[in-house]
């Protein structure tokens, strides 16, 4: 039997100094990051984010995850609210040894899975030395 889960509150974040136009809160997704043989694996919980509403930005070694969560349909009256609903946002700075061009991402059931492969180490290469003998006569 696995251990019982405990409640963890969603972490609200403020992004930059600019105010957002919406009055909805913004949350920081919880993540797991671990090392694999080929690089890093990142998993982030972003419940309510559809694949088309997720955006991943990579700029100057900064990886930005942002996910839009659709507001609940109009006309519903809230009876009790235990968690807030809003968009997700979190930034990570990547180490130089990450091969930025081959990062892959998948989103399933509100969980984002990012594979961040390391740059392949330089392969040892034998350099052939040309001698006069190989020169055509």
């Amino acid at each position: 039997m696995s251990p019982e889960l405990n409640v963890r509150e969603k972490q609200e974040v403020t992004v930059g100094t600019a105010e957002t136009t919406s009055d909805r809160p913004m949350f920081s997704p919880v993540v797991d990051i671990w090392e694999t043989e080929t690089g890093l694996m990142l998993m982030a919980d972003m419940p309510g984010v559809a694949p088309e509403d997720l955006s991943l930005d990579l700029q100057d070694n900064t990886l930005t995850l942002s996910g839009r969560v659709s507001p609940p349909p109009e006309g519903r009256k809230i009876l009790s609210r235990e968690f807030g609903v809003g968009n997700f946002y979190r930034q990570f700075s990547l180490a130089d040894n990450i091969d930025q061009a081959s990062i892959t991402a998948a989103l399933k059931d509100g969980v984002l899975k990012l594979e961040l492969p390391r740059v392949a180490p330089a392969q040892p290469r034998k350099i052939e030395i040309k001698t006069d003998e190989t020169k055509p006569a």
Partner: protein, 155 residues
């Protein structure tokens, strides 16, 4: 709001005013819970996973819970009389414990939660959907629990 209050002695108007004040406090609590943002969550924080939101319209009750990464076949929703139970398991088996974690914030484990529904629902027509890691249970209100709009006749 304190549980006990000292009544002003010898004031014969004490009791009714106290009652009014109590009522106002109560209204304020309800208002805050409804209108407040995230900062208000702590107030109705239950300490039991998963946290749920409950909403209604004229016809339905809607329960939502965020359960990212739960497989639908590891999730069980049941309604009995006016009690709803949610149980399931979150498994993150992707990496073992042996791997080198840089961050480990997500948790896994089993959960079980039972909550009382505020109105009677039509058990035959309850609908549960799990989309993008969010569970939504749509429960049609039982006929006797629906709001009846009464037409006012004029003469």
């Amino acid at each position: 709001m304190s549980l006990f209050r000292v009544l002003p002695k010898g004031d014969r108007f004490g009791l009714p005013f106290w009652e009014l004040e109590k009522m106002r406090d109560h209204m304020e609590t309800i208002y805050n819970a409804l209108a407040g943002g995230v900062s208000q969550i702590r107030k109705n924080y239950t300490g039991v996973f998963p946290l749920v939101n409950l909403a209604e319209d004229d016809e339905h009750l809607y329960l939502t819970a965020e359960l990212p990464g739960v497989a639908a076949d590891h999730l069980e929703v049941s309604v009995k009389a006016d009690t709803l139970s949610l149980r399931g398991e979150i498994r993150h088996s992707e990496a073992g414990d042996e791997v080198n974690y840089h961050r480990r914030e997500r948790e896994s484990g089993s959960f079980r939660r039972t909550l009382a529904l505020p109105v009677k629902v039509d058990m035959e027509r309850i609908d549960a959907t799990f989309k993008n890691g969010v569970l939504t249970v749509t429960m049609p209100k039982a006929t006797e629990a629906k709001a009846h709009h009464i037409a006012i006749k004029t003469e």
